[in-house]
Symmetry: C2
C-alpha cells in the first residue's frame, strides 16, 4: 500500500476507461515528479473543463460556447431530417471531420454486448426516443425521416444496433446502418470472410 494521497488518486485513475491499476500508478508518480508549474497547469486545465464545458441539450456533445446547443445542433444549414446515432464523442468528431454528413447527431453513450438491464441503463435510449418524438423540446426544429445507427461493426455494436432497431420500430422512421465492405487501402488477401461476403453483397 502506498501513502493515502497516492492510493486515493491511484484508485480514482483506475476508474478511468482502459486504465488499470498499473497505469494509474505510473500516472500518479508522473504527477508527483512533475514540477510545480506543470502540475498547476494540469489542475487549471481540469478546472477549465469543469467550468466551461456543457453537454449539448440535444445530442449530448460537449461544447463551450452558446447557450444550450452545440455548434452542429444550432447550425441552421444542417439537414434536420436525418439523425446519426453514434456510440461516443470521438465517433462524432471522426465523422464530422469527413465533412460528408450534413444531418444531426446523437451520442448514445455506449454499446452493450448483452441485454442485461444494468448494461442497457448506460445507453441513452429514452433520451433518443424523446429527441426523435419531440425534437423541439430540446431546442431543435427537426422532423427525422431517417436514423443512421452508426455503431461499430463489432459484436457489441451489432447487438446494440439490433436492440435500437427493436426499440425504435414504433417510430415509423427509416433505420439504416453504415455500409460494409473493404476499407480503402485494405487488401483483399487479408480481409476476413465476413467483410468479403458483405463487400460482395454491397458491390457497386
Amino acid at each position: 500500500m502506498y501513502p493515502k494521497p497516492i492510493q486515493q488518486l491511484l484508485e480514482l485513475f483506475s476508474q478511468f476507461p482502459t486504465i488499470g491499476p498499473r497505469t494509474a500508478g505510473r500516472m500518479v508518480f508522473y504527477l508527483l515528479k512533475s514540477k510545480g508549474n506543470s502540475f498547476d497547469e494540469f489542475l487549471k486545465a481540469l478546472k477549465n473543463l469543469r467550468e466551461q464545458m456543457k453537454l449539448c441539450a440535444f445530442c449530448f456533445n460537449p461544447f463551450n460556447s452558446g447557450v444550450e446547443l452545440c455548434a452542429v445542433c444550432k447550425d441552421p444549414m444542417r439537414d434536420k431530417s436525418i439523425l446519426c446515432v453514434v456510440e461516443k464523442e470521438e465517433d462524432l468528431a471522426t465523422l464530422e471531420q469527413t465533412k460528408t454528413f450534413q444531418g444531426l447527431y446523437f451520442i448514445l453513450g455506449g454499446t452493450v454486448g448483452n441485454l442485461r438491464k444494468e448494461d442497457l441503463q448506460n445507453l441513452r435510449t429514452e433520451e433518443l426516443k424523446a429527441r426523435i418524438e419531440h425534437p423541439e423540446t430540446f431546442g431543435v426544429q427537426a422532423s427525422f425521416q431517417e436514423i443512421i445507427l452508426a455503431l461499430n461493426p463489432t459484436t457489441e455494436g451489432e447487438a446494440t444496433a439490433l436492440y435500437l432497431e427493436r426499440e425504435l420500430k414504433y417510430a415509423k422512421v427509416k433505420l439504416t446502418r453504415l455500409g460494409r465492405g473493404l476499407p480503402i487501402g485494405g487488401e483483399l488477401e487479408y480481409a476476413d470472410a465476413e467483410t468479403l461476403r458483405q463487400s460482395l453483397e454491397n458491390r457497386r
Copy 2:
C-alpha cells in the same frame, strides 16, 4: 479538433507515461460525463497529492508524514550498509512487500536504452553518488558496503546497470545485481534460452 478545454486537457493527459492521444481522449470524456461530485473528488485527490506528498530527501520515495525522510530511511532498524537502487517507485513498493530486504533504497528515476546525454539526464546518477559518498548530508547515518543494482532484466535495465557499474567503480563498494533464473510457477518448456542459460549457471 475538439473545443479548447477538451483539447488542452487531452494534450496534458497524452504526456502521461503510456497514455496515447486516444486514451487521453477517453479520459477527458469520462471526466466530462462524471457527475459533479466525482469530478470534485478527483480534483480534491489531486490537490491532496500536491500538498501532502514530499519526496524523501535520501531515496526520493514519496511520503506524507515526518519532516525529511520516508518511513524506510528514518527507520533505525534498517541495515545501513546496503543500498538497493531501483528504477521507479513501484519497484520499491514491490520489493518492500516481500519483507525480505532490510537495507535502504534509492529511486534512480528511469532507465536508459543508450548513453545519449539527454537520456542520461533523466537518471539521478549524481544524486546517487552523493548519497553513497555523504549519506549524512541527506539525513541518513549510513556506510554502504554493497549496492544492489535492482534494475529490470531487460535491454534497458542491463544498459543502465552497466552504465552505473562504470560510474560507481571509483566508490570501491561491492556492486551486485538481482539473481537470474526460472520464476516460481514458470515452466521450463516456455522459458527463453537466456533465462535457461542463467538458471543453469546459477543452479543451487
